[in-house]
Symmetry: D2
Subunit: 265 residues, 4 copies
């Protein structure tokens, strides 16, 4: 399917503020970027680099005054998300090196504290994909999804205590549970076609059966329409923007995802 | 300055043919990609990766029949190319690690064979930028530039014998001469505003005074307008396309570079 | 100075247990490994890789029974640790790309929560080295160092509440405070000559004045003798060993660091 | 099997000379370094880094006078070299990204010029391992191996003309032939137990059936005993030492490889 996605953010800047943005999508195994537009107003020098997860990041100094970022992208993705019941657990000794860091605890995923709980949730499941599916189902049934919940970043342990969360929070808990079973798991920030209300989305991927698979506890079923902006161990690594100095928040933010015909590409 | 660049290539494919393309420009210290379009007809699965030089590469299988690639990009670059007479030579022990591989001989730059010649060309110059400038001047004065010369890839040593070459050939010889003086040098494939006749261009960069500087022996003077597609040790690393199996050549190829107003971005 | 360092660890393994060890030291700008021995008993297949921080990691499956690791190393380091009062803060836009990830909050360094506190601690200091020195002094004066304290991993915020910690804890708090001032900071695991009691040590580095400098709030003054095993954002990244499955602890552990003559190398 | 390997080199230095050495072996899938010694006389500052192929490189300035490097290593390797008749060709689209650069022509492997010849040599073979084996056999039968031949670096095309070569030359020709068939191939510099006369050795690896396999046209059959020092596209990438400035050669060089008992490790 072809999607056209646009994203607008405006900030009101009071002192020159360094930003690291992650708003340039990458073409990858799951998505092809056919066109892209990235507008910064007022225009300032931007330096782009690739972080250690392969994400394209833009570094700049936002000047005083209103500062607007607009991006749009035309992207082709598969109509379906791959799913594979029974995909086996990969032994630590057989994991690719690039995947190993996704086994470790990280800022918002205290995986070392979830061993017993993960064992209980996945009891009786085949090792691998089916365990992760059981975790996703457990999250959906247990942790209340509040799409318009707080923007405050909280960790998997905190989410598990308060029993509700935004998409990112459910993903963090899913990741922590996977890693406690020695299944590599990572956070994906991105867009989802048909999301209500439309905004940035976050889900998680687990590495089983020799590849990454998509999981999302916030949706009743896994349909197509996922477009990745960036990958990381958790939200500390993969932020739409990181900003340094006194905190600023967008005064305006809008995301739009629409289905288009191939002929309109 | 703002440029709008487009590139069209068509191939006539007789058996399914793997390609690795390098046609997705990166934003970097010298250029900002404000918008981009990348069209492949017929559409096939494409996998994009970053090579060890930081270039974005697209891997695909071209199917039988006409196969067309069209890209366009809107890019902002500096009005002037930085030049710095007197920028000093950087001792080997102080070079950044990422720069060291640009000291070694490579496929088309037999730098180990040019020591005496480079010493002669640069005699009396301050070590560093001024040496490279003397090499660029020597190339301009000595090696006949034939913009529509052969597409055959030849090495610096061969260019030095035959005394003429396309832009890539002059750059290869410049690179070999620099490296023989222990100055890191690399090839840049890209576009140049105002080039006559308009097509892909190649120039070289040398690392002196703690950064890369641009050199181009094919132009009378160094004006602004350089847009990089990719970087590498020589043309073996940085090809607009690499194609595997029986060779195919574009049946059609066109490059267009025009100056635009910021208001038209 | 030349040091001979040895490290012994024994585990009692009840089920085959995957390990990722970080016990192969790297030669670097600060240290030269002249000889090294790495013994694993019983011998099992080991696969070594470089993680994204440049550390050499060894992956293996420990078999059932006693499992012993012994390493020793002869290393040359500078007699003094470099210090540089007044080394200036580096603006975000001028930081090398490889340093940027050390600005972000991480598992044990919740830097986003320490902005006000860091501002207070460093009030009146020149931006850069002097700020970090003030943080180190504040840690030394404020957080009780308990070298034989708990092995439990706690975060900077928790350390700040309980007001005591092991070397790693003081470092985590120092790192969080630095990052909250937009100064990149990282954890170093390693050895320190003369440490009492002798065991593994941890300290931190901050990036100011264009390079990394060493800080250690657990010592009254900064003397020579620091040997790095690994670098990372915090203890989640840089562990002497990570072990998967039911937890096992060393039944025996010993570290020895002695000064030797160059003639004994 | 366990091997103890030592390597001595002495240079007579007349002006301070920058060197990049590649004499620190890496543990990897095929070998485990149990102990290692690396001595430089006189001792000078050394900076070690990892190149883009994963090799550990040592950068230093050799001072005027005799300059000696001695390394020794105790290494465990498999008793046999893996061989796998019938291991299939991997389609370009399925090759790991890290392998793709080994498809390109490089300094000493002009793979673009060997397509017809490779097709002829491998006619009738199954695609993949069997093709490479046919190339190895053809090299052994056709190109005269002169172990004490010239040190001059020549390319695959030149070797093919003169019909003789040192180990490195036969490997370069093998690599060029493989790549011309779209089989990734790379050069390995290292040691071989039992080599006569004993010195550094070079062989090549080809990527088929999803992994790298060893090939060596200089030996009658493929026995165990291969220890890798470094990997690269060809000898331009993987040099025991690169030296900058006026050329110097070792005044003394010695390599020793002996079989030891595990009890002597």
């Amino acid at each position: 399917m072809w999607l056209r996605i646009s994203c607008d953010m405006t900030f009101d800047i009071t002192i020159p503020t360094p930003f690291i943005l992650m708003l340039r999508l990458r073409s990858g195994a799951q998505q092809w970027i056919a066109s892209e537009k990235y507008s910064i107003k007022p225009m300032v020098p931007v330096f782009e680099f690739t972080d250690s997860y392969g994400n394209l990041c833009q570094r700049l100094i936002a000047p005083v005054g209103p500062f607007a970022i607009q991006t749009s992208v035309t992207v082709m993705i598969a109509d379906q998300v791959d799913q594979q019941s029974g995909a086996p657990f990969v032994d630590i000794e057989n994991l690719p090196e690039a995947v190993l860091s996704y086994l470790l605890p990280s800022r918002y995923c205290e995986s070392d504290r979830f061993g017993d709980m993960a064992a209980e949730i996945t009891a009786g499941q085949s090792l691998g994909y089916d365990q992760v599916k059981a975790i996703e189902t457990w999250l959906r049934d247990t942790i209340r999804f509040e799409p318009s919940g707080s923007d405050e970043l909280v960790s998997a342990a905190e989410v598990n205590v308060r029993q509700w969360g935004v998409c990112r929070d459910l993903s963090h808990l899913g990741i922590a549970l996977c890693r406690s079973l020695s299944i590599p798991a990572r956070l994906v920030e991105g867009y989802l076609y048909g999301l209500e209300p439309m905004t940035f989305h976050a889900w998680f991927e687990a590495y089983v059966g020799g590849r990454w698979y998509t999981f999302d506890a916030t949706q009743a079923e896994l349909k197509g329409g996922y477009v990745a902006i960036g990958y990381g161990r958790d939200a500390a690594d993969v932020a739409i923007y990181n900003q340094f100095g006194p905190p600023v928040s967008p005064t305006y933010q809008s995301v739009c995802v629409e289905l288009i015909d191939e002929s309109d590409v």
